[in-house]
Symmetry: C2
Subunit: 336 residues, 2 copies
DNA sequence: GCACGTCTCGGGAGCGCTTCCAGCTCGAAC
DNA sequence: GTTCGAGCTGGAAGCGCTCCCGAGACGTGC
């Protein structure tokens, strides 16, 4: 491994050593035409002799392109990161950015300062594009980003706001799958525990539940709202049991909530899956280890990141891709 | 929320509107002295009238400071990200970076291209500092980073290589705690399943196990090596049972492995905790939900990120902090 | 042999900011 | 009233790169 020279080698030095002008050197660095073969080779030799590496900052200033994109995550809800979710998204993104010259900047916008920072970033074009995972439609970041003249793609659709570019998992379809599965295993009095209804995933999963029951001609009135968390699931299951003691199946909009619900059912002496069938959502790793292991809906998280990045690149290069919805699938385990 | 103007407002425009020179304007932007009160106020007014935001790229070029730090994660081992580990570290880092003007860049260096990218980043000073979570001592990134003239702090010490600046969890102490606990609950034939021995966490936890048994005057010869994964734990537990059927306690160097081990013990008809006490490490969320729930060692992951960032800032501002070791603690559940 | 097109080449003007420096002003001290 | 020093002030020189443009070099077709 070559030592890192203290002082930066500049393009001028390369040009001088190669006996050409700076313009010419620049052209060969950027693979631009209009350079004779001889000079091109001379420059290339100088580059490797000197160990020249272009200064990205200077280039950014001259081209008005940052050479970086940002992943902004805005949530007051730490549960978004539950399980390897966040890491997987990032891995997906990185894998496609790896083939480009773009760096990835990260912005956790939990506080209101996050908004200021993102705004600054966008206004000064420190980033050429934004991937935004924002759960609330009223999130100022969402509005802000759409307004900026920088490409923005959304991961997971916010509620009450239709972003131009987005990739999302098929929450609705997944919920339908889950509910249909409950129906198929003979349940007839099927309840649901919803997630936060101010998040796209929350409303979409609820819709899927309703649709499936409508198709089956069953009552979709056994509903308790919660917040995706385990405690929320616990509380909601208690409500449900009190209000609808006859229920024989529950579609729960997250595995965390399902874990809470499972405990409540057990404590209430209901056997899962014999008395009550239970389906979760997300397929977090814990879902394997509950007793009984949880039937759940799995979404392709790494692919989500990958497709967000791909879509962003497309938009950045002038294309106009259509929103993408990634398939979810049912993972059948012992809770149904 | 103010609209984002298409074209960037420059310092010259601010200066002109305020009726001062660009130098003066720059001084007030940077809170530098030698500006009269009148002019200072005029500039401030112009700034807010125009909605001026300094261009970070230009500033970076002029000052030779990037205004960004990078978190580089290098691992061929996706399990590093298991559970919210990664997200928590990032949250910790973000929380301290939030009070600075530094941006966070992310670099997942799984491939060898990662090395090239990091090298480029460092050579062109696109980053003013590096936080490196690298698990292998022979990781070229580690060497590379230490050699660069950019501050580097390590998260989690690599094996066979003593970084100058690092923050790590007290793996050894935690392992000692876990093993002592096994002793305290009456176990006498205590085995261990180690993690990867080419990672600092692997060797440190093994050492802690040995120390505790040495102090207790017990035999530390019941050892099986694995790789932190659930499958590895399964295999290792089988080996252990075959070689030392008399064991009555196992310290397992990760919860994932402990989950595998738990299953093997159950299948072998050994009751946990009655026949065999089991302690894991990491306190992943699943550890609550195994049966029985897993006694384990918890480490302060968010604090790890926070302290890495703090230490980096310290080094960047010329200080010379000493390596930091964060305490771990035993979380007692039903498996012991 | 000449006019014309094509390609190569280097000069130079930025990109938006910081910072050095020389020149000023102005008040205090004598 | 003079001398000094301390604080202001703006001009100008960069930071390292890109890219436009005009000047040459060279070849082609007639």
């Amino acid at each position: 491994m070559a030592d890192l020279p203290k002082r930066q080698v500049t393009l001028d030095e390369v040009a001088e050593r190669a006996g050409v002008s700076r313009s010419a050197a620049s052209r060969v660095i950027n693979n631009a035409p209009h350079v004779s073969k001889a000079k091109r080779e001379a420059v290339q030799r100088a580059v490797s002799d000197l160990g020249y590496v272009p200064n990205a900052t200077a280039r950014a200033l001259a081209t008005q392109q940052a050479g970086a994109v940002v992943l902004a995550i805005s949530s007051d809800n730490a549960q978004v990161f539950a399980d390897p979710f966040f890491a997987e998204v990032v891995i997906g993104i990185s894998s496609v950015l790896e083939d480009t010259d773009l760096e990835l900047m990260l912005m956790m916008a939990t506080s209101s300062r996050g908004q200021t920072r993102l705004e600054r970033l966008l206004r000064t074009r420190q980033a050429d594009g934004v991937m935004l995972m924002s759960m609330h439609g009223d999130d100022p970041l969402a509005q802000l980003a759409e307004k900026a003249d920088v490409p923005v793609v959304f991961g997971g659709s916010p509620v009450n706001f239709e972003p131009r570019y987005s990739v999302d998992a098929d929450n609705r379809g997944g919920a339908r799958l889950a509910t249909e599965h409950l129906v198929a295993t003979g349940r007839r009095r099927i309840a649901t525990i919803t997630g936060r209804m101010d998040e796209g995933a929350g409303t979409a999963r609820f819709k899927g539940y309703q649709e499936a029951l409508a198709v089956a001609g069953l009552d979709a009135g056994r509903v308790a709202h919660a917040d995706f968390s385990e405690e929320g699931g616990t509380r909601a299951m208690q409500e449900l049991l009190a209000a609808h003691p006859d229920l024989d199946g529950v579609f729960v909009a997250s595995d965390q909530m399902a874990i809470g619900a499972l405990r409540v059912l057990r404590d209430a002496g209901r056997s899962v899956p014999d008395d009550v069938g239970l389906v979760g959502f997300n397929d977090i790793s814990t879902a394997h280890h509950t007793s009984p292991p949880l039937t759940t809906v799995s979404q392709p998280i790494q692919a989500l990141g990958r497709e967000m990045a791909r879509m962003l690149l497309a938009v950045m290069s002038g294309e106009d891709p259509t929103p993408l919805i990634l398939p979810t699938r049912l993972v059948r385990r012992a809770s149904t």
